[in-house]
Amino acid sequence: MNAAHLPIQRPRQAKLLALDSGGNIRHVVRSRVVDLFRRDDLVISNDAATLPASLTGEHLPTGGFIEVRLAARRSLSTDAIRHCTAVVFGTGDFRMLTEDRPKPPELTPGDRLKLGPLQATVEAVLGHPRLVRLAFDGSPAEIWEGLARHGRPIQYSHIAKPLVLWDVWTPIAGPPVAFESPSAGFALDWNALATMKRQRIQFATITHAAGISSTGDGELDALLPFDEPYYIPPATALAISHARMRGGRIIAVGTTVVRALEHAARFDSFVRPGFGLATQRIGAGTPLHVVDAILSGTHEPGTSHYCLMRAFVDDAALRGLDRDLNLHDYRTHEFGDSIFVERNGRGGESLEQQFPAA
């Protein structure tokens, strides 16, 4: 698959591959995504807004240029911004593949960093020379102002122009807690939500601090996803109970929603409202207690997002899905096309019945 290189959230030609629980594949225009949902389904999105998590500056002990990409946090509390896990890059910028970026100066605990108006200390090196825990100086208000004014959203070499936050905030973006955009949500705009409401398709949100998705370093990428804090509002937990009672499907918009809901329901399949820290990895053989289907971007084999898809369908089905994505020139990455996948064994009307072949 080719990467989508224009930062357009909802291009008119965006495509969607739908794989139903019976293994049937359909291709639809993504702007008609709501047609895949049914009355009483509950569609759940991640309303996290994307932080300007890329900070450039100086490693003060050596004077070397660095780019710090904030990558994870332990809590959604706004004060928790003081301490972040970060991946540090050396010289160069987003036009260079992350794989090709020079290493930063050697980082050791106690090193001071100057990042625009912000100053931070390396508290710990976390088992990899480029993975650190940072402590920012100043009050939370000062840190937020510095971050808001100096930070930029994490950039991608496959996007031709520098991204700004207008590009990466989903239409429903709320709490600024995600390090990269929960981009599956690009598919849904306010018009889609209004259409869903008219058709009595329910909608709810969770907040999940989506961490960094890729570092360009095989060793680091093997550690992904990092632990991610989340919040499930009471209204969402209630909506899940209601949808289940009515026989509606729980449809997750994006992998982060799957991770949060399944973590919250890990003990007894019951989604409790409140805060949590998703620590689990989801993959082949992981039982899904809550989520019946996922609307997601297209993912390449080997990524943690792709691995998560293996909890929904078996490898043969995924191979068939990949084959179709390539055959039909689907575009991948943040601004690419989408897939809608029902998990194996979920009953109900198949997509084939909903979209009979012409």
């Binding site: 309303d47 807004a49 300007p52 706004t78 208000a141 207008w166 709490p175 209004a194 209204a235």
Partner: protein
């Protein structure tokens, strides 16, 4: 002195998270004071850091943010700081305004740049900031906290006063924008108000009408109280979650 009947409205503001643009003078400053008094969490935005620092010093608990809503690039830095300060948002008050040319001028004598600036501040600014915060407001609505956008309007939005062309045209656009947005967002549980606070004794009015007798103008504190009452009445009609009205706070 508050009457007993006012307590119902007062309660609507306990735990409410409110952001006010143009919060360092005139009506905006009076709103900061009024809403803090009523128990709301308040963030305010203004362009000049010295004014923001001064208002924060004079109003303990108010979160000041430096930014210019007329600049698209400032919108997300402002939104991020609002959401970090208040951990969400229930009420957005788009109050910051630009008069256009000063002294006021006939439209034919208005420079294009003056009209652009009035439109950027009075129309695009509220549009951009509201758009950036819409997800948060919708989330508040889903949680039954209530979600309100108040756009501060003017009778110049309706009446074609001589020399008020840039301001009047921009406020007319904001008024209609508010009405359409209210139609579109009511189903999401978000209400959008456009209210005229009346002619007030404010620095803005003094620039626009330097010969006006201040004693004949409304005090901004009075207008702030009226606007807060309007928001409170609307919130109380939106069946907000009872936990936001702790009885203990009334006794």
């Amino acid at each position: 002195m508050l009457e007993d009947s006012d307590h119902h409205i007062l309660n609507e503001f306990r735990g409410l998270r409110v952001a006010i643009t143009g919060g360092t003078s005139g009506l905006g400053l009076a709103l900061v004071h009024e809403l803090l008094d009523r128990g709301a969490g308040v963030a305010f935005i203004a362009r000049r850091r010295e004014g923001v620092v001064r208002v924060m010093r004079e109003h303990a608990g108010a979160h000041g943010i430096v930014g210019d809503v007329s600049k698209k690039d400032d919108i997300h830095p402002i939104a991020i700081q609002i959401l970090a300060a208040l951990e969400g948002l229930d009420v957005l008050i788009n109050n910051a305004s630009d008069l256009g040319p000063t002294p006021l001028a006939l439209l034919a004598d208005t420079e294009c740049e003056d009209l652009e600036r009035a439109l950027a501040t009075n129309v695009l600014g509220p549009f951009q900031l509201t758009k950036a915060l819409l997800g948060t407001l919708a989330s508040s609505a889903r949680e039954d906290r209530g979600a309100v956008v108040l756009n501060v309007s003017s009778d110049a939005a309706i009446n074609p006063y001589h020399r008020w062309g840039a301001y009047g045209a921009s406020k007319a656009a904001l008024h209609h924008l508010s009405r359409i947005w209210n139609e579109e967002l009511t189903a999401e549980g978000i209400r959008v108000l456009s209210l005229d606070p009346g002619d007030m004794d404010t620095p803005l009015h003094a620039i626009a009408a330097p010969d006006a007798d201040p004693s004949e103008l409304k005090r901004p504190e009075t207008a702030a109280r009226e606007l807060a009452d309007a928001i409170g009445n609307l919130l109380s009609s939106m069946h907000r979650r009872p936990k936001l009205m702790p009885e203990a706070a009334v006794r």
